[in-house]
């Protein structure tokens, strides 16, 4: 049965292994953001043998491009973007030690295999709940690629960001399970 878990990075393999598809996970602490444009930059740095602006070992990456903060606010709307655009870069990120990703939507077979190989987890946040999720973000700063604007890498301090385990490191796939449970006929 699914359980409620509080997760604070850095994450270890042992922590990741306890997470099972369907678990409700509240994420707190420091997480990093990146969309595909930032991933591409990271890959270019790796290819050039340069150091990355963030050490992703044990970290959680949130696929989000927030809307601008109003004066006096930390951040604007900040819901997840579609994860599949990052699929091509994800196995490399997991090899670097990244332990969890927050996004929405299906991942590629290569990513699902890499989650098992590198003991990592894919968490889903509610797509389109940008205002709701914004309330969980207590601090935000750009730490790399500021020229990318909303696509820059941000360091976020979050409190109880609500997510659910979509793909665990044991091969579990909540999208597939959920769909099958409610599919009819055809």
């Amino acid at each position: 049965m699914s359980k409620q878990v509080r997760l604070i990075p850095p994450l270890t393999d042992e922590m990741v292994k306890t997470l099972v598809m369907g678990d409700q996970v509240l994420v707190s602490g420091v997480i990093y953001t990146a969309r595909d444009a930032a991933h591409k930059r990271l890959m270019e740095l790796l290819d050039a043998g340069k150091q990355l602006p963030v050490d992703f070992k044990g970290q959680i990456l949130y696929y989000v491009g927030p809307s601008p903060a109003r004066p006096g606010r930390v951040i604007g709307a900040a819901g997840p973007t579609t994860s599949t655009r990052m699929d091509v870069y994800t196995p490399t990120m997991l090899k670097l030690g990244l332990k969890a990703m927050i996004g929405k939507g299906k991942r590629s077979l290569e990513v699902l295999a890499a989650l098992q190989e590198f003991t990592a987890v894919y968490l889903g946040a509610t797509g389109g709940a940008g205002a709701l999720i914004s309330k969980c973000i207590k601090a935000a700063e750009v730490v790399a690629f500021p020229d990318l604007g909303p696509e820059a890498i941000h360091r976020l301090e979050v409190e109880n960001l609500p997510t659910i385990v979509i793909n665990d490191c044991h091969g579990g796939d909540l999208y597939e399970l959920g769909r099958r449970e409610y599919a009819r006929g055809r």
């Binding site: 579609t82 299906k106 509610t126 389109g128 309330k135 909303p150 999208y175 449970e181």
Partner: protein, 279 residues
């Protein structure tokens, strides 16, 4: 000729873009409230609860409904007795979008397709203009998210594939899109016309009120049948499994070439944002 100052148009577009991104329309809120009651899956009910809460926070605390504040699409119906003064009509629409996205703290999500350099002000908006009888200007400002647009498809079917082929493509497109397009979704289907017109019909279909059904009996039945078939997929809110994958299916149709059967499927996420202004 009735004169309309383009400054009025700029202000109207600006306000419409801002309102659309902060205030979920009643149609959608009613559908969320219904979903929270009727969805069988507990995870799905929780998503509806979150969407209602999200809409409340957006309205009260002035945080956009979604961080993807969309590409602005403007449908303009220009009365043929209208005379624009004080500037260029299309430039005014673009300026309205520019001001709305800047002053409304909305995300600028447009870029050069190849360099991916952001244009910085969310322009150019996509503008569709129709000339109609009368002396009014009707503007429908739409903020269309990228995720649901990516899940949309266009097919040039063989006429022999007929209605069965159309249904297959609609359901297959939704099945493939699944959780990626932020369900519960609205599905716009454009049948006929030609290559580009079918896509436009699909997009226009999304602008119909969620609660209406097609005035043509057969197309109304088709909408209902497609909605059932889509909801039988089991994808559910947020893709977590459930009965409510789509909140509505809207079809628009027009004649096509004897050699063709174009069908376009435009998907709208649950963050359906549009505002109408009549000047």
């Amino acid at each position: 000729m009735r004169q309309i100052e383009v400054q009025t148009i700029i202000a109207a577009v600006k306000n419409a873009a801002i309102t659309a991104n902060y205030e979920q329309d009643e149609d959608m809120l009613a559908a969320f409230a219904r979903g929270e009651k009727e969805e069988e899956s507990p995870a799905g009910r929780e998503i509806f609860r979150q969407l209602l809460e999200n809409a409340r926070i957006a309205r009260e605390e002035r945080i956009p409904l979604c961080q993807d504040c969309g590409l602005a699409v403007i449908f303009a119906e220009v009365g043929q007795e209208v005379h624009f003064v004080g500037g260029d009509f299309e430039a005014a629409l673009q300026e309205g979008v520019r001001q709305g996205y800047r002053e409304g703290n909305l995300r600028k999500s447009l870029c050069h397709p190849l360099t991916r350099q952001n244009t910085g002000d969310n322009t150019p908006a996509i503008i569709h203009t129709d000339i109609v009888p009368g002396d009014r200007l009707k503007l429908l400002v739409v903020s269309k998210g990228g995720g649901s647009e990516n899940g949309s498809r266009l097919f040039m079917l063989k006429p022999a594939e007929g209605l069965a082929g159309i249904k297959d493509k609609v359901v297959a497109t939704v099945a493939e899109a699944g959780p990626n397009v932020c369900p519960p979704m609205i599905v716009g289907v454009g049948i006929g016309g030609n290559f580009e017109r079918s896509a436009l019909l699909a997009k226009k279909a999304l602008l119909r009120p969620l609660s209406d059904s097609h005035p043509d009996k057969e197309l109304a039945a088709l909408e209902k049948e497609l909605l059932t078939a889509i909801n039988d997929l089991g994808i559910g809110p947020s893709g977590l499994g459930g009965r409510l994958t789509a909140l509505g299916v809207k079809v628009l149709m027009q004649p096509c070439h004897i050699a063709s059967l174009p069908v376009a499927i435009n998907i709208q996420c649950h963050s359906s944002r549009h505002q109408e202004v009549v000047l």
